[in-house]
Symmetry: C2
Subunit: 502 residues, 2 copies
């Protein structure tokens, strides 16, 4: 065997080991969130951190750099997916080795501290309490960004972004968010005006037993293509999607006073899980076999939740199922009313409660602020003021306190800088993919109205899920939709849904 | 820091890492048995084997031997628990390094093959089908025993035994089982005769809903001292006790046509879990902080199930709880009848269904046969005949087929040679410990009748659970009971329960 081929084979072995360790972490995390008794917390933290440290040690082991060099020198080019695999291996290795170990440790300690303080500062709406530890996280994050920027040849912010959405650059986000900013505030205003000109939709009221909600959710998941032989639905305080491709665990939270939030949450997580379950089995445990970053992942949850499940076609299909499940009927259970509820636009302070139209405004604000802080142009002490001002400019209302302002999210205290834009990039990607799927499968909308998601899911399996990391993110979108990511389809989608009559 | 102290500190770090990996395996195994969807099996096997291999690699790493040598050369003797810890570290290292890696791998593959064939051979009652792979497992097990015997300076069988019950030697088992064999067959016969001279006890019949059984089981677990902040009760096909000390997971299986098996199963596993939850927190993640082997572990399940929960005192306490839980009453729900049911002696072919009196006969037979096979004195081809003959001699009935004979247990196909005797050694230990606890806590029996297990559990916490591996097994028993393990108390216990009038 020539040396480069041998080196590559050794790399596959090592990366498989890392993937299996990470898979084990995923399962332990599910257990912690869903079934673990309180007393198990410390032991669990020790188990998870041991596995993480071992995975990290495997990735930064001294031989890794040599193996990667050797494999990349391969005179006989390995076939396509192996080249892509090698590219992804090198990317992970670069991220992991760019940052000195003591900085990783210092940042991890600062995050734990800041997150702990945030849990008290948020309900107390006390940003001053958070400020010192917030400064520390930011300062170490900037150090990390500088180390990565240096190694990857990127700008500071791009170096952070690259971890969540590999290959994504701020310059493109600026362009996209710039276009969004040009039309979104007016669109929000017009949508709100149109909706308030009509009588308000009526939320179904009553008692909606958990068990009925759960059964209905499982039925819809199955219809959407979720494979219960390779996954579960459970309950946890903070809903998430986790596990591994052949054992995808999603969670939700049931509210017996209203079914909409829990149900839409499940449909959102189902989109994530369909992506995981659809990843290419032939490349299991290899970087090329994994998801193509957070923007693509979010696009899969939003294509299900926003493009499909808040559409008129889906809600016509859903309405009789709801009536049957809860044994209720009346005007508030008619598709027209339910559709208007599912597409209600109301500017509010809290991102996680935001509707489809105002959500991007929440994200754009965070993106602008975190870029400025990473660049050193905004001092954290000035964050509350900058937040409230920016918020008012975008959404026309001013947060009355920091609890409903810059303290609401865990992301910054948690060290997830560069993550926020992927929410809205995901929404934009979802619109563009859904449009392409409809072009490719002309019957798609009618099929959805009949509760047949086969045409859509098969298209996603082929164009997105089954590709893993074979292509870079932008190339994947270009191949699937015929053009690079832009905001045009998303705009058309919002206008059609929120400004057209009806 | 002097070198030996430094070496010891490094060993603590490495063994903690190994313990956390093994803890993670415990949780993944729980998940696999309780909640995992079928499709997750392959990924789970990969995760678990990756963690096991990593733990093994850490244990046999080349520096380990040097660190152990260095630490053991310590001129300043480390304090007591550290000396014990070092002893246990060395023991594990010796077991792990005694066997060459390719033998471990060959044995592991042979076990997988043999176990798979066994799953078909058992229902088909076809020992010939199993024989070739059985021979292979035995032959590789003997090779492993030879390697360990050589390294540990032990006999072949002792080398196997030492893994399950460290420090235990066959010579002592021979003596104990010899004494047992001298009185047990007559005792069984007499117990059966006495019981058949009276009218048979009447099993409560009806439908016993799972949810009611589960709630009652949790209530009894709590009363016994199980800490639900640090553990759970769930359902699995094969009941087990697992997890980690601060997150002890036990499982059971409910039969809605009868509550006795499920309930007694839970009480048995609760004994195991109390041991785990009572291990010394100060020594977490260190070998000295773990349980003192399978004999001691089984003694803790049997002290709860057999010594306590099948006693007259406990059943008087239990009877009204049963009547209340199931909303039933009548003569079959009276303590006298329930006690006679819980102590019914009936020779049968299947070990796992055996009662307290006949169980040791099942074990003694297996012990004799596996010793002979390991010694090379019994060819596996002759096992069915030897089994049936030995069984008839001990229990007076002859298995009609191998399904109810030598094919019934997974242990041999599964490579667990040297494990069987710990069941009965555990029962004997339980009797001796329970007697000592009663001597130390004169109110103990009355307390049990009142549903107060504090005196017993506190004594066990102090004398057994909290000691971890500070002492060798025999020394632990001697300290707790005032003398080495012998069969006298167990005999008195059986005679009192099964031969006394009443």
């Amino acid at each position: 065997m020539p040396e480069p081929v041998k080196a590559y084979a050794e790399l596959e072995k090592r990366f498989a080991r890392i993937a299996k360790l990470r898979g084990a972490v995923g399962m332990l995390h599910w257990d912690q969130s869903v079934v673990m008794p309180r007393g198990g917390a410390e032991a669990r933290a020790e188990q998870i951190s041991t596995l993480r440290v071992l995975a990290h040690e495997l990735l930064v082991a001294p031989e890794m750099a040599e193996l990667l060099d050797e494999a990349q020198r391969g005179s006989e080019a390995p076939d396509g997916w192996q080249t892509a695999n090698l590219r992804e291996m090198a990317r992970r290795h670069a991220h992991a080795t760019a940052v000195p170990g003591d900085l990783v440790e210092a940042l991890s300690r600062a995050i734990t501290r800041c997150e702990t303080i945030w849990r008290d500062a948020r309900p107390a709406s006390d940003f001053a309490m958070l400020l010192p530890s917030f400064r520390e996280v930011l300062s170490l994050t900037r150090e990390m960004a500088a180390a990565k920027a240096d190694r990857l040849g990127l700008g500071l912010y791009d170096a952070l972004l690259d971890e969540y959405d590999p290959g994504r650059r701020a310059e493109k986000i600026d362009r996209i968010f710039g276009e969004l900013a040009a039309f979104l505030p007016a669109l929000i205003q017009e949508a709100v005006e149109r909706q308030s000109a009509r009588s308000a939709p009526v939320p179904p009221e009553g008692h909606f037993p958990r068990s009925v909600q759960h059964a209905l959710a499982e039925r819809l998941m199955r219809t959407l293509g979720f494979d219960f032989e390779r996954g579960r639905l459970d309950v946890s305080l903070h809903p998430f999607s986790g596990g591994v491709p052949d054992d995808s665990r999603i969670t939700t939270r049931w509210d017996e006073a209203g079914f909409a939030t829990g149900l839409m949450g499940v449909l959102h997580e189902t989109g994530h899980a369909l992506y995981e379950q659809g990843l290419p089995p032939a490349w299991r445990y290899q970087p090329v076999g994994e998801d193509r970053g957070m923007t693509l992942h979010e696009s899969q949850s939003l294509i299900v939740e926003m493009q499909v499940c808040r559409s008129r076609a889906f809600i016509s299909y859903l309405a009789p199922l709801l009536r049957e499940a809860f044994g209720r009927s009346g005007p508030e259970w008619e598709p027209g009313n339910l559709y208007r509820l599912a597409t209600r636009v109301r500017p509010g302070f809290i991102r996680v409660d935001a509707d489809e139209v105002t959500y991007p405004a929440h994200v754009m604000l965070r993106y602008r602020l975190e870029r400025a802080m990473v660049a050193g142009d905004l001092d954290p002490a000035d964050l509350p003021g900058a937040w409230n001002e920016g918020f008012e400019a975008l959404l026309g209302i001013r947060p009355p306190d920091d609890r409903r302002g810059c303290l609401q999210d865990i992301h910054w205290p948690d060290g997830a800088w560069g993550y926020f834009p992927t929410y809205t990039l995901g929404a934009i990607t979802a619109a563009q993919l859904f449009e392409a799927a409809q072009r490719a499968e002309p019957d798609l909308q009618d099929a959805i109205g009949r509760g047949d998601f086969g045409p859509l899911v098969n298209w996603l399996r082929r164009e997105i899920h089954g590709c893993g990391c074979l292509y870079e993110g932008d190339e994947l979108i270009r191949r699937a939709t015929g053009r690079p990511l832009d905001v045009a389809t998303f705009r058309r989608h919002l206008e059609a849904r929120y400004l057209d009559a009806g």
